[in-house]
């Protein structure tokens, strides 16, 4: 009995090893780009060489797909930089130019429609009160009598609840304060969306759609490169611009100059001037998310 059992066990192991060996051969033969993509590791854990290679492959892929010369940057955070944002509530007129500039710059899906910036219309006599806010206001002319406007996008919190809950570490905060998502690593569980108190995260419920001619080909891996369906995306302060020393596109487009941006670690910066000389507030301060996005009343 003992012998027989041993025999069958050896037999079984032999078959098993053959099977495993066979599938390894089959797997290594399958060297398609899709398979590389499937096996790609978390961006956070990659070496510089790996990143360079991945970024190059993506450039090739996107250039082919969209018929435009694409650049995909993998540029890391700049030292001694902590990006901060300030928005002047007394100047904002609710024109939503920032919303659409953001859509164009960051390649957000047109249908289904994704907006990283939501502008809330609030009643002056109620103050900042989300319960009575309206995101779908649609008058012929803004601003409306008795109303003011609170644009909300990612607050790039120093204590980000979205990062804490992500089961796969697919979203994290870079040293310059920007909270990013690795679209290749995100599994689409949407826990971060449940955790975000600002509605700052959007999910690609279907294949994102954008006319090829409107695609912005200057991209960053962690920012505005084209996204697949089934993953979460969010505002990155235009990571592809700000790491090159430019302003986010919402800052550039704003016709009233309500949007201010800069390096919080630079004492000479405009953002530091605002923090020193204006009284600022953050949204939902009681949740201790510690945003690097401030609101103030400039006039």
């Amino acid at each position: 009995m003992q012998k027989e059992e041993n025999n069958t066990r050896r037999d079984f192991l032999k078959k098993l090893s053959l099977g495993v060996g066979g599938s390894v051969v089959a797997l290594s033969a399958c060297n398609s780009p899709q398979f590389d993509d499937f096996l790609q590791k978390n961006f956070k854990t990659l070496s510089k060489e790996d990143i360079d290679e991945i970024v190059l492959n993506l450039e090739k892929k996107y250039t082919e797909k969209y018929g435009k010369q694409f650049s995909v940057s993998g540029k890391p955070a700049i030292d001694d930089t902590l990006f901060g944002y300030a928005l002047d509530l007394s100047r904002c007129v609710g024109c939503r130019k920032c919303v659409y500039a953001c859509v164009d710059e960051n390649n957000q899906s047109r249908d289904p429609q994704i907006h990283w910036i939501k502008v809330l219309q609030m009643e002056k006599e109620k103050g900042i009160d989300f319960a009575h806010a309206d995101v779908h206001y649609n008058p012929e002319l803004v601003p409306e009598e008795g109303r003011f406007y609170v644009p909300v996008a990612c607050q790039q919190c120093a204590n980000p609840p979205c990062v804490k809950v992500c089961p796969a570490q697919a979203t994290w905060q870079e040293s310059d304060g920007i909270v990013v998502v690795d679209y290749n690593w995100c599994i689409g569980c949407r826990y971060c969306m449940a955790a975000c108190p600002y509605g700052a995260r959007n999910f690609n419920w279907s294949e994102p759609n954008e006319p090829d001619e409107e695609i912005n080909p200057i991209t960053h891996y962690l920012g505005n490169r084209p996204r697949p369906k089934g993953v979460v995306e969010k505002c990155t302060f235009c990571i592809q611009r700000v790491r090159e020393g430019k302003y986010p596109s919402c800052v550039e487009i704003c016709p009233t100059g309500s949007r201010k941006f800069g390096n919080l670690l630079d004492p000479e910066s405009e953002i530091r001037y605002i923090l020193e000389n204006k009284r600022v507030l953050v949204l939902k301060a009681e949740l201790n998310t510690q945003p690097n996005f401030f609101y103030f009343f400039g006039v």
Binding site: E4, E5, T8, F38, N42, K44, T45, P112, I114, K118, L120, D129, F130, A131, H132, A133, D134, V135, H136, V152, P161, K164, V165, C166, P167, A168, Q169, A170, W185, C186, I187, G188, C189, R190, Y191, M193, A194, A195, C196, P197, Y198, G199, R201, N202, F203, N204, W205, S206, E207, P228, K229, G230, V231, V232, L287
Partner: protein, 406 residues
């Protein structure tokens, strides 16, 4: 080798059955096929075929997941009296509770898989091959707890049936510690599942310390309700035997659970309504609707009324011991908890959303079909496991029968 024969024997027995058995299987398979269509749609088009949105970003799937974790946890309801107090009439049925737990865990994980955007990348949240966010993410904890609970139950149930099958005494020093471990594990899975929602300050509707206790109490109502009904069906249709006293004991334990559940819910209501802060808006949406938006109102009241009637039926000894009223009560409490977890727990957490906007959510046809897929697959699996267990425990189906045929 004998283990192999156990598997062969198990597979053989699931194909043996009368007309009733086969029509039940056929019904489940038809439902399964109908459901698969919905899921294929979803795989092709993305989660856009659901009615979820950036505002209501979790909904019916996650509600079902939560409900089923509760059902799985409730298996301990039977384990406690059977093993701790060594109370005889209940002991032989513990194995059926464990089988229910195994099925419910598989189904709950099924609901997570259909809910995530990129299911093939599920492994990203695993340790070693992925980058699991442990200990920060409660989802990582939940995955661990569910996995451990699943393995314990799978092992114990398989091992006990296997020993019976090969006509060997089971080793008590292996089984007992595992069963004892399954008790805290059961509490853990449902507590951690509650913590998933609980520790999100962005959603005041869930951010109450009573959430986990309420989860446990409600699970101890719905899980045993399934078993009470199931045992009676099995007794009528198979050689399965159970004493009346065992069912009454389960029912009695359910009354305590129902009372605690009711008490916690009233405590929550009081705190929210008397405080009357801005957080009341979610409860208002659930119970009365906000303006034109009253989508959940009929369901929430249906759940409350069914739960209350069930409580009364179970509380009065005469109706508890009458099998007609007992069964009515069991069905009522099951659906009461199902609605509460499936619709009334998740959706008001997102309505209105964090920016105060109301997006109406009701499940889409593809969501319902995918749900039917998981439920029919789960029922099919459960039927097969029951078939094996009943044959081995009550029909003396054993290794000898395999040998005779050779």
């Amino acid at each position: 080798m004998k283990l192999f024969q156990f598997f062969i024997g198990s597979i053989r027995i699931i194909f043996k059955g009368g007309k009733g058995y086969y029509s039940w299987l056929a019904l489940l398979i038809i439902m399964l096929i109908w459901g698969v269509g919905g899921y294929i749609n979803q795989l092709q088009e993305g989660l856009g075929v659901t009615n979820m949105s950036d505002s209501v970003s979790w909904a019916f799937y996650i509600g079902n997941f939560t409900f089923l974790v509760g059902v799985a946890a409730a298996a301990i309801m039977l384990v406690i009296p059977a093993y701790i107090y060594n109370w005889k009439p209940i002991k032989e049925i513990v194995i059926f509770g464990e089988l229910l737990a195994i099925t419910a865990v598989i189904m709950s994980i099924g609901f997570i898989v259909v809910d995530i955007g990129v299911p093939v990348k599920f492994w990203h949240m695993l340790p070693l091959i992925g980058t699991m966010n442990f200990p920060d993410s409660i989802l990582a904890w939940d995955f661990f707890a569910l996995g451990v609970y699943f393995l314990i139950n799978l092992f114990v149930a398989t091992y006990l049936l296997y020993c019976l099958f090969i006509k060997k005494e089971y080793n008590k020093s292996i089984v007992l510690p595992l069963i004892l471990l399954s008790i805290p594990a059961a509490i853990a899975i449902h507590t951690i599942t509650a913590f998933l929602f609980n520790a999100i300050p962005a959603r005041p509707f869930w951010n109450s310390a009573l959430l986990a206790p309420r989860f446990l109490a409600s699970a101890f109502c719905s899980g045993p309700a399934i078993l009470i009904i199931l045992f009676q069906i099995l007794q009528k249709t198979t050689k399965f035997e159970i004493k009346k006293e065992a069912i009454w004991t389960i029912a009695e334990l359910m009354v305590y659970a129902m009372f605690i559940y009711l008490f916690f819910t009233i405590a929550e209501f009081f705190k929210e309504f008397y405080s009357d802060t801005e957080h009341l808006v979610y409860w208002k949406y659930l119970l009365f609707g906000i303006g034109e938006n009253k989508e959940l109102v009929p369901y929430s009241w249906l759940s409350i009324i069914m739960g209350t009637v069930a409580f009364v039926l179970f509380l009065i000894p005469r109706t508890r011991k009458n099998f007609i009223t007992l069964n009515i009560g069991a069905v009522l409490i099951y659906f009461s908890v199902y609605i509460e977890k499936g619709l009334a727990l998740i959706i008001p957490g997102f309505t209105p959303d964090v920016l105060g906007q109301i997006y109406v959510y009701t499940p889409s046809m593809d969501e319902i079909r995918t749900t039917v897929l998981i439920f029919s697959a789960g029922f099919l699996l459960f039927t097969f496991m029951l078939k094996i267990a009943i044959s081995i425990i009550f029909n003396n189906y054993s290794i000898d029968e395999l040998k005779q045929k050779k």
